[in-house]
């Protein structure tokens, strides 16, 4: 047995390395996710995107937008947000998910990264995930796992987002573990007037504090 390596904070200077071109755009060929505005001129060396053809991804296109706030309610201006999700059919792009009866999407991996800006805002373009199994014989509601790191965070914080218009939320085995009064902190709501944009704000304190998970 070897001891697990301890976590350390990202510090404030990760953007020129950990944010890659297209990292926050899982369904298109934009550069969303990279931060050339924070990279010293002439030092954008990791700009080349991968070879996945993201425009051909199957599923309902959505955007997830939101703001992150620290425990005093101030915008968290330099967080790095990572997402992990299943494809539209409900399969993860990972050998561990070996359910051959559910198709993989060769153009969709389901992992993304976005850094928050001076207002604490972030944005992902992705697809609405399908349902995946939960403990026992349960089926989980569509959800996306969120990992939060950044300066001042010593060890990653974990949460999930669910979708306000999903009736499956009522039978989700993980949401059922969350005290009823706090469940709304995990539910993204449609932006008024924009059918495909969901808002998910993340609060590290206050009455609307986002529920975080220990896995």
């Amino acid at each position: 047995m070897a001891g697990q390596t301890p976590w350390q904070t990202t510090g404030p200077f990760f953007h020129f390395g950990f944010c890659w071109k297209g990292g926050a755009d899982l369904t298109g060929d934009s550069a969303l996710g990279s931060r050339p505005d924070l990279t010293a001129p002439g030092h954008d060396v990791l700009a080349e995107p991968g070879t996945t053809n993201r425009r051909l991804v199957k599923g309902e296109r959505i955007e997830i937008v939101g703001q992150m706030f620290d425990n005093t309610g101030a915008p968290f201006t330099d967080a790095l947000i990572e997402i992990w999700q299943a494809n539209a059919a409900g399969r993860y792009a990972c050998p561990e998910d070996n359910r051959a009866e559910i198709p993989l999407d060769e153009n969709f991996i389901g992992f993304g990264r976005a850094a928050t800006d001076k207002q604490g805002a972030y944005r992902f373009r992705t697809i609405r995930p399908g349902r995946v199994p939960g403990p026992g014989n349960t089926l989980q509601a569509p959800h996306i796992a969120f990992g939060l790191v950044g300066p001042g965070i010593l060890k990653r914080l974990l949460t999930r987002i669910y979708f306000a218009d999903a009736p499956e939320n009522d039978e989700d085995p993980i949401l059922a573990l969350v005290p009823a009064a706090r469940r709304s902190s995990l539910i993204a709501t449609r932006e008024p007037g924009a059918a495909d944009i969901y808002r998910f704000d993340i609060r590290l304190g206050g009455p609307q504090e986002t529920v975080l998970f220990d896995i």
């Binding site: 697990q4 350390q8 990202t10 200077f13 990760f14 620290d70 425990n71 561990e96 991996i109 796992a145």
Partner: protein, 233 residues
């Protein structure tokens, strides 16, 4: 399917460590809620070729990213990504971000009065091989001041991000160098309990040092392993 073994919480920094000032407002107010690991947590971007498709290929020699040679002490940093049962973690992404040998990041927010080097950025990527090995050629970063107190300096360090086989095994950490006088004074390193603090310090190795070329430092990343008992589904 087996869940991942519990985090070794005693060896991890707490969320709130008041000596590290920015953790005071950025630690979550409430404790996290324990949930069982589901397929969401036991999967992650893993498998042959997935990281190349996602981000592009390796960038392991940080001294060859520009036409000219960067200035500073060339070093080799290598090792393995393992789980706590010392099984190798192949095909996983190891990302590196660091300051240059003057103690300056290629980042627009870095205000330290030290020069940038047009031939060095301080970013690298290495996808581990079948034995979980990674290897970078880089320059030794320098200490730099930070605003945690009136005269506080970060020990020389390299930031690393390791994906691991699952969302549950993710690790972001910093690697320090042996014998650094700033290490015992550093509020970020000292957030790790003293008995586990040597786990974030690399080891100088003469064996893999390349004569007349570069010193070698070894560092293994140890991620959560598989639990012994299967999940209930």
């Amino acid at each position: 399917m087996k869940p991942f073994a519990p985090e070794e919480k005693a060896a991890q920094p707490p969320s709130l460590f008041p000596d590290f000032r920015s953790s005071v407002t950025r630690a979550p107010a409430s404790a996290p809620l324990k949930i069982p690991q589901t397929l969401t947590e036991t999967t992650g971007p893993a498998g042959n070729g997935i990281w190349e498709r996602l981000m592009g290929g390796n960038a392991t020699d940080l001294t060859k990213q520009y036409k000219g040679e960067p200035l500073g002490e060339r070093i080799i940093v290598s090792g393995r990504v393992l789980d706590e049962n010392t099984r190798p973690v192949p095909n996983t992404m190891v990302e590196l971000v660091q300051a240059n040998p003057s103690g300056r990041y290629a980042h627009n927010y870095d205000q330290h009065d030290a020069p940038l080097d047009p031939n060095f950025t301080g970013v690298g990527r290495c996808i581990t091989d079948a034995e979980g090995r990674y290897r970078f050629i880089t320059l030794k970063p320098a200490a730099y001041p930070w605003a945690n107190g009136p005269n506080t300096w970060r020990p020389a360090h390299i930031h690393f991000s390791i994906a691991g086989p699952a969302f549950a095994t993710r690790l972001v950490t910093q690697m320090y160098f042996p014998g650094d006088p700033l290490f015992p004074l550093d509020a970020i390193a000292c957030a790790v309990p003293e008995w586990a603090r040597d786990r974030i310090v690399c080891r100088f190795d003469l064996e893999t040092t390349m004569p007349y070329w570069a010193l070698s430092y070894l560092f293994d990343f140890v991620l959560r392993g598989r639990d012994a008992t299967p999940m209930e589904n």
